[in-house]
């Protein structure tokens, strides 16, 4: 069986050629690295992935994220991480990764009788 480990699925990461990551577009050396942006909205407790952008360094990435993704008051906090540090699961393996959970209904905690005294469940 010939499994190729594909490391990157968000855009193209030119720096790391060692692990056979796919490089769908060729990127010139002068391009800034790609960053993934996560924004926490005012009501939200967690940072959510909103997209990606190019920037020369982390500082610029945060400013760019501010300019690109928070123009309409979307957020109160920004995280950025260089895309090359994101390791993604391979969509081709979706069947083996996720389908087996499909018929395991007993993993959902729906078989318990809750006493009336327990609130907020």
């Amino acid at each position: 069986m010939n499994i190729i480990i594909r490391k990157f699925f968000y855009g193209d990461i030119p720096e790391d050629k060692s692990v056979g990551g796919i490089q769908s577009h060729s990127v010139s050396k002068n391009d800034w690295p790609l960053w993934e942006v996560f924004i926490r909205s005012k009501q939200g407790l967690d940072h959510k992935h909103v997209g990606s952008l190019h920037a020369a360094d982390a500082r610029m990435a945060i400013e760019n994220a501010r300019d690109v993704y928070t123009r309409r008051m979307e957020g109160v906090s920004i995280w950025v991480v260089e895309s090359k540090y994101i390791h993604a699961s391979n969509p081709d393996e979706a069947e083996s990764l996720y389908d087996p959970a499909n018929d395991k209904a007993y993993r959902h905690p729906t078989f318990y009788d809750l006493p009336d005294a327990v609130k907020h469940m």
Partner: protein
């Protein structure tokens, strides 16, 4: 209304229009980058700054129009002030009307002006005119970001490649003589300071120079000499040829189709 009181009011109108013109013209210049920025993210950044500035201009124009109408009921609006005045009536400083040049020129122009605007608005927050104080307070938050964004770019370009360093030196040569005017108060600015609704701009110079110096040093750029001959005149309506091109661009539609809306 006594004559001297009305004169004071005229100077206040001039001063408010001057603040508006500075913001509008630089905002217009920055907006010329829309769709032409070096990369998408910076295209959006400079366009955001442009919108901030045009928003500030609107606030000042609206207030100026209110003052004008109170004075003579001539039906001024923010639009008539922006679109129907001629070259000589514009009171913006020369720095903001200078053409975009390359990215280095645009960045440096923004930096030099934003630092000035930051210091000015900080003082204007204490203006005895509550409307001016309120506009300054709102705008200051935006300008803090403009200063940060542009100073980081000055450092990035100055301390970047040989080419970017060279371009920053050229940009400094191109723009430096337009900075003296910022701190040279005109009649209406003197009047404004004397009456407490604005500040003596000359007092902002030291702190401005300090910030320029720190940033230039970080950017490995030679700090320009502040005691060279400086251009002036913009605040009194004597502009470089650049302003007419801007106005032709900006005012064409309202001049050709008066009152048109869309």
């Amino acid at each position: 209304m006594t004559n001297s009181k009305s004169k004071t009011q005229t100077q206040k109108i001039n001063c408010t229009i001057h603040l508006a013109d500075n913001a509008l013209i630089l905002g217009h210049r920055d907006s010329e980058w829309c769709g032409h920025g070096p990369v998408l993210e910076q295209d959006i950044a400079i366009t955001n700054i442009s919108l901030d500035l045009i928003g500030q201009a609107r606030n000042f124009y609206q207030y100026a129009a209110e003052l004008i109408n109170h004075e003579n009921g001539s039906g001024a609006t923010e639009d008539t002030l922006a679109y129907l005045r001629d070259n000589r009536d514009f009171k913006n400083c020369l720095l903001v009307e200078q053409s975009n040049g390359d990215w280095a020129v645009t960045i440096l122009r923004q930096f030099l002006f934003s630092v000035y605007q930051y210091l000015l608005y900080k003082q204007l927050q204490r203006s005895n005119d509550t409307q001016i104080a309120a506009i300054a307070e709102k705008a200051l938050k935006e300008v803090v970001y403009h200063v940060q964004w542009s100073s980081e770019w000055v450092i990035r370009l100055g301390d970047g490649t040989e080419e970017s360093h060279k371009r920053m030196l050229k940009a400094t040569d191109d723009l430096w003589t337009f900075t003296g005017e910022l701190f040279n108060p005109t009649l209406f600015e003197k009047e404004a300071a004397a009456n407490g609704y604005s500040v003596d701009v000359a007092t902002l110079k030291n702190e401005w120079m300090q910030k320029i110096k720190i940033t230039f040093e970080q950017a490995t750029l030679p700090v320009p000499n502040e005691n060279v001959w400086m251009q002036s005149g913009g605040k009194e309506g004597i502009h470089t040829e650049n302003l007419s091109y801007i106005l032709a661009d900006m005012q064409f539609l309202q001049r050709a189709y008066p009152g048109c809306e869309w």
